[in-house]
């Protein structure tokens, strides 16, 4: 039985250090929800507040209508998977999985059959009588998941569960986790600092920085229409440029140096001349050896990666930027070549000069407005 989770105005301090100033969010029933952010952004702290291992210094936490702030962690009916797996080293796999069930008034047979069901589900039945020290990282992870799910929790919390695995296993376990979550249909909160992992696995992602939620949205939404420059730079890679918005009749144009291009997606309340920050992902740039009205740049170097070719260039103002193109049969553009660069104006994003707000239409952000107003400042760099 899964629940929805509502957090209202959460506050967390360690001593005088405010880690989370004022955070609100809602996780829907059965949703796979990811907290994503750089290390130290407060995502694990928030997760541990939900689990009950960190105190809640302010605000309200609800599972459905039940306020859990003062509920003993042992009574919250939460399944938790830890970064270190936290397998009990002195018990067999079976005893580990059964452990949570022994706290409920269940018969021996019931405990055994339930544990077996989840060991089957996680494909670890043949390891049942082994000691954990003889298991690989991936196997331990499966045990941890089976143990957490076995108690049929209302909520599954996962704290960077894949960060101790090697790259290949990480991708494999990623789909195992996603599949099992869908099969069981449990509300899940997942913490990671790996944006690719977050994109691959989540229904929705909350991007956090310095204890503040920057953007809550679907993977597609936050990638294509990030709420602010922090999100633009943190999710994928973005070239951030200082440019201007000008109006030509009713049509807004973005101007960078001598280059101008129409951006019809600018929201009506922002349609006035102003300084803006242009966020263009490497794949949202076109480069041409001929002058096609774009801004000027000089190729510094290139990396050929098979499918794509990356170009690094220097602009006339000294800034460096990166662009990506599908590799062609032509020769790669030589370093030192002068090129003309244009935007894919459908895809680029424009932000107010302080970087805090995306001025285009189509931004889906479920974060509460109070949080967004505190968004991170300018970040003028290749993200």
């Amino acid at each position: 039985m899964s629940v929805d989770i509502k957090i209202k105005n959460a506050l967390k301090k360690f001593g005088d250090n405010v880690i989370i100033p004022d955070l609100s969010l809602t996780v829907k029933k059965g949703e796979f929800f990811t907290l994503l952010g750089p290390s130290g952004c407060g995502k694990t702290t928030l997760l541990r507040m939900i689990a009950g291992f960190n105190t809640i210094d302010g605000g309200d936490f609800y599972f459905d209508e039940r306020r859990i702030n003062d509920l003993n962690p042992a009574k919250r009916n939460i399944g938790m998977v830890f970064q270190s797996y936290a397998i009990f080293p002195h018990m067999t796999v079976r005893k580990n999985v059964e452990f949570g069930l022994t706290n409920k008034n269940l018969s021996k047979a019931e405990i055994r059959s339930r544990a077996e069901k989840f060991m089957d589900l996680m494909q670890i039945s043949e390891l049942a009588d082994r000691m954990p020290t003889s298991l690989s990282g991936g196997q331990q992870q499966r045990v941890a998941l089976a143990r957490a799910l076995c108690i049929e929790p209302d909520v599954l919390l996962m704290d960077e569960p894949l960060s101790n695995l090697d790259a290949k296993l990480r991708i494999e376990m990623r789909s195992v986790i996603k599949d099992i979550q869908q099969t069981v249909g449990i509300t899940t909160i997942y913490v990671t600092h790996d944006q690719e992992e977050a994109m691959a696995i989540s229904d929705r992602i909350a991007v956090m920085n310095k204890g503040v939620i920057q953007h809550i949205g679907t993977p597609k939404g936050i990638y294509q229409r990030p709420a602010n420059t922090f999100v633009a730079a943190f999710i994928g890679r973005s070239n951030l440029l200082e440019g201007e918005l000008v109006m030509k009749g009713d049509m807004p144009y973005v101007r960078f140096e001598q280059y101008e291009a129409p951006v019809p997606a600018v929201a009506s309340e922002f349609r006035k001349p102003q300084k803006v920050i242009i966020s263009a992902r490497p794949e949202e740039l076109s480069i041409s050896r001929e002058d096609n009205g774009g801004f000027k740049a000089t190729i510094i170097s290139s990396i050929f990666l098979g499918l794509n070719t990356h170009y690094f260039m220097r602009l006339e103002n000294g800034m460096q930027m990166e662009s990506v193109h599908e590799s062609t049969l032509d020769s790669i553009i030589e370093p030192g070549t002068k090129v003309s660069v244009t935007f894919n104006t459908d895809k680029i994003n424009l932000f107010t000069a302080d970087g805090s707000t995306n001025i285009l239409t189509g931004v889906q952000n479920d974060a509460q407005p109070s949080a967004v107003s505190r968004a991170g400042g300018k970040r003028l760099a290749v993200g």
Partner: protein
């Protein structure tokens, strides 16, 4: 990362533990201090300290103790580092045997070794007589400074050996290869790289050896003769020929504690200057010893360990010799043991085992509690408890003995002469081993594991007993065995606290020695030695590591 401090069960546990320390550690020490500065009329006076510093007769004991302890420390380093180097960097045959025997020597009761050496090298010693009769050689005296140095160095070098093994094991092969790459090899590399990397351990080992040598009571008591040391002086003043003088004994004790504290702090300061830790990803591959060098390595290692083990072996051998109680006679029998049975052997064994186990149970309980409080519930109060629990580490046993007598000889706590006071003395004196070991183990247990249990709906007490304690088990057991061994071999505080009803194995041995009943003494000493040896074997089985932290 800890739930809000509420006044819960653990707070009560903290306070009870603190109460225990206040009553059995601070209160006796306070009593000691008070006795040392108040005279019989209750007036404040520094007379006792003045008396001590006025007469060379007394002050010389400090200098003697320091001098002999420093010499012992130096010699043990010189003996222990080479054997550890051979052990760690070469494939010596029988390496395990060398290690186990060394451990056995280090853990044996100090005064038994001293006594055996007297039987070997003393005025009537077999070797002395053999040399004199056969070659007309006078091999000098085992008594005094030289004797203490000789006996203690042979007994304590295994500590350096064991400590250094741990350090050498942590040296990464790539560091040695890197230094070879830069042209530093052989002896130069040993001094410039290997020893430098082991410096924190060398200092730690030096401290342990120095403290043991400084606080040792049995060896100088038996073979010090004219060479008077500090712990013996405390005992003499407490129970000496000139009648009991608690106050003066207390004053000397206070001076002794100040000395050991100063040395402890000095060592801490020295260690802090080597603030690095190493761990080997690529352990050094042991080489095969070859040629004349290899032969010398074997000769050195086996001769040294053999010499250290000689007194133990000799005592066990003697215990089976015929004797009339006092003098050994030709032939072999169980006479000594039969005699021991009539001289309180049963009671001694009983007391040692029963009181020892009682003390051990309390130690284990305290260790589990304190480890949990310190590691999982760090707070001012619990840090104070942690610090207090380590105080006995720097207290010579005779000081603790005197302090307990002073504190508990009158109402409301008239405990002197009871079994309880022996148990208290042992708990106080021997708990640091188990506490250190349990704490170190718990520090390696990730908190995640307990949180996982909690998130699975487990109550706090159940988590503690089903998850935390089992995961600390090995640390607790191995620490407890070390505590146990040191309880079995305890002399310095017991000699002040025991009486006929609470006599222990070591005390029976000592009584027999001091009365000149050599046969009887050999039997008691042999039993003590065997109990120690068996305990060590169990320890090695349980801990599965050679990294013994004594």
């Amino acid at each position: 990362m800890q739930a809000k401090r509420r006044f819960d069960l653990w707070t009560v546990v903290s306070l009870v533990t603190l109460g225990f320390f206040v009553l059995f550690l601070l209160y006796p020490l306070w009593g000691l201090l008070r006795q040392s500065v108040f005279n019989a009329k209750g007036e404040f006076t520094l007379e006792y300290f003045k008396r001590f510093f006025q007469y060379r007769y007394y002050t010389v004991t400090i200098f003697n103790s320091i001098k002999v302890s420093l010499a012992i420390t130096l010699v043990t380093l010189l003996l222990g580092i080479p054997i550890s180097y051979f052990y760690s960097f070469y494939q010596l045959k029988g390496a395990k045997f060398l290690f186990v025997v060394s451990l056995l020597c280090a853990m044996s009761a100090p005064f038994i070794g001293a006594y055996a050496w007297i039987l070997l090298l003393g005025r009537q010693g077999v070797i002395t007589k053999f040399m004199a009769n056969t070659f007309g050689l006078n091999i000098g005296s085992i008594y005094g400074f030289d004797g203490i140095l000789f006996v203690q160095s042979l007994k304590l070098f295994p500590l350096v050996f064991i400590y250094m093994n741990g350090a050498f094991k942590d040296i990464d092969n790539s560091l040695l290869e890197a230094s070879a790459n830069m042209g530093v090899v052989g002896v130069k590399r040993f001094f410039k790289v290997i020893l430098q990397l082991s410096m924190p351990t060398i200092l730690a080992a030096s401290l342990v050896v120095f403290m043991r040598a400084f606080a040792d009571f049995g060896t100088p008591l038996l073979i010090g003769e004219g060479y008077r040391t500090f712990p013996v002086e405390i005992y003499n003043q407490y129970l000496g020929e000139h009648g009991q003088d608690y106050r003066f004994a207390a004053a000397i004790s206070v001076i002794g504690v100040i000395m050991t504290t100063a040395i402890f702090l000095l060592q801490k300061w020295a260690t802090s200057r080597y603030n690095f830790s190493i761990s080997a990803m690529h352990p050094v591959e042991k080489k095969k010893p070859k040629g004349i060098g290899g032969f010398l390595m074997y000769l050195y290692s086996y001769a040294l360990v053999g010499l250290a083990f000689l007194p133990q072996a000799y005592i066990v051998y003697l215990s089976f010799r015929n004797s009339d109680g006092a003098v050994f006679l030709p032939g072999y029998s169980f006479t000594n043991y039969r005699m021991a049975v009539t001289r309180l052997l049963g009671r001694s064994v009983n007391n040692t085992v029963l009181l020892g186990l009682a003390a051990l149970a309390i130690i284990v309980l305290l260790a589990v509690i304190i480890a949990y409080l310190v590691v999982r519930r760090a707070s001012m109060l619990n840090n104070v408890i942690d610090t207090l629990s380590m105080v006995p580490y720097i207290m010579p046993g005779s000081v603790i003995g005197v302090a307990l007598v002073i504190a508990f000889s009158n109402k409301p706590f008239a405990l002197t002469g009871t079994a309880l006071i022996m148990i208290i003395a042992w708990v106080i004196r021997r708990m640091p081993y188990t506490i250190r070991s349990a704490t170190a183990t718990l520090q390696l247990v990730p908190r995640d594991v307990e949180e996982a249990a909690t998130s699975l709906g487990t109550s706090k007490p159940k988590t503690f007993f089903r998850i935390t304690v089992p995961m600390m088990r090995n640390g607790i057991i191995s620490g407890a065995i070390l505590s146990w061994i040191s309880i079995v071999t305890e002399l310095s505080s017991a000699i002040i606290l025991y009486n006929n009803r609470t006599i222990t194995l070591t005390m029976s041995t000592y009584v027999a020695i001091s009365r000149g009943n050599d046969g009887l003494a050999a039997a008691f000493a042999a039993i003590t030695t065997v109990v120690t040896a068996v305990s060590i074997m169990i320890y090695l089985k349980v801990s599965k590591t050679e990294d013994v932290k004594i």
